[in-house]
Amino acid sequence: MTVTDFEFICQILRERSGLVLTSDKAYLLESRLLPVARKWKLASFDELVKSVRLRPDESMIRDVVEAMTTNESFFFRDTKPFDQFKQLILPALLKSRAASKTIRIWSAACSSGQEAYSLAMILAETGPQLDGWKIEIIGTDLSTEILSRARDGMYSQFEVQRGLPITLLVKYFQQVGDRWQISQKIRHAVQYREFNLLNDPVALGRFDVVFCRNVLIYFDQPTKTKVLNGIAKQMPTDGYLILGGAETVLGLTERFQLVPGQRGIYCIAGSDTKADVARPSIPAAGSVLGAGKAGMPGMASPAKAPLGSTTTPVGSTTAPKSPLPGFTTARKL
């Protein structure tokens, strides 16, 4: 790969998805784009670059961009944001929206749907308190392929064991061969739409709660600012924004401020949402994932790169064809 080729592809990625690729990640380009080259019947990575350069084809460029996104996700990722949603955000909104009985939730960059479905399961577990309420969950992503996976709601055995309590697996999933499909009830609670975060979200409407996690990390500063300000525009003054564990608004925008005492939850700056949500503190027990008897310690499963973990699955009785289907498809830069 030549430096010009690398820079050419990087420019496309930055323009199309916001992804900033540093030169130490050059090796990733080739390994991830080779399958795209094959799909388009091109002999090599170099041929693919040449083709994109000389005869730019929209759907080929799309494939390139989608192949470079990281889609890793899991149910109840990091635990804490979902506990905060259940114990602080939802009760606050049930009070403040008592007149309209309507709540809209956005899972921005939803990947294969685990975040949106985790929220849908929390709502399903909340019970009769929500009778008569209209609660919408919208999941959006850039990648059409990942959205169709999200709509199917079909997960590998490996994926349903990362973060998902066994009681919820039994309650909300059906076994289909060696995979697990989330029930129709939960699937119907989420709508998926294609949306690029680099665009203005105005057409998506207003959202009381926005989960925008583990996507800003891939963007440069100006892009982060633009995305955050776009989200702020779609939120009422008493809405909530939840970012990923390695993400912040600090130094990026003045539109949001941290909800005091609540790591990872932000409200519109200058609003008094913070007073409402800051009051109750999360009790040690009674977590969403409260299968155990002890309380939930904050970060349940640190986001780790599957590619980086070298342990081999143990105790497989089946032939080693593909012991962990999710293992090889999950990617991380």
Binding site: R162, Q175, A291, G295, S309, V314
Partner: protein, 121 residues
């Protein structure tokens, strides 16, 4: 330091589970079937039990039913870890008092995720 009893008839599985759990700061004891696990628990209840299903002499589910009737036997957090991966087995395990359930094959990430869900880490 919390203690975990690893019950599995495969020496290899016990060894790997030990390695992963020691990495998570557990003190590990081993038993090769439900019977020896019972003997161990009669002397001393561990904080956690990682439990295989199919074992000679006494199966994991039999052991669990006995355990939950023993004095102090409500205390340990029991995580099944088995190749039995159908809903019926999972439901039977929960009904018998299992706290979590791992379907083999497992790796360190799954163990860590499940153990933190039940509040062990």
């Amino acid at each position: 330091m919390k203690s975990c009893l690893v019950v599995d008839d495969s020496k290899v599985v016990r060894m790997v589970a030990r390695k992963i759990l020691e990495g998570l700061n557990f003190q590990i004891e081993e038993a090769e079937n439900g019977r020896t696990a019972m003997d161990f628990c009669q002397r001393q209840m561990p904080d956690a039990i990682l439990l295989d299903w199919n074992m000679p002499v006494m199966s994991g589910i039999e052991f669990l039913r006995h355990l939950r009737k023993m004095s102090g036997g409500q205390m340990p957090i029991v995580v099944f870890c088995t190749t039995e991966n159908d809903i019926q087995h999972i439901q039977e395990a929960i009904g018998a008092g299992a706290n979590e359930y791992i379907m083999k094959p497992f790796d360190s990430e799954i163990i860590e995720s499940k153990f933190s869900q039940v509040g062990l880490i």
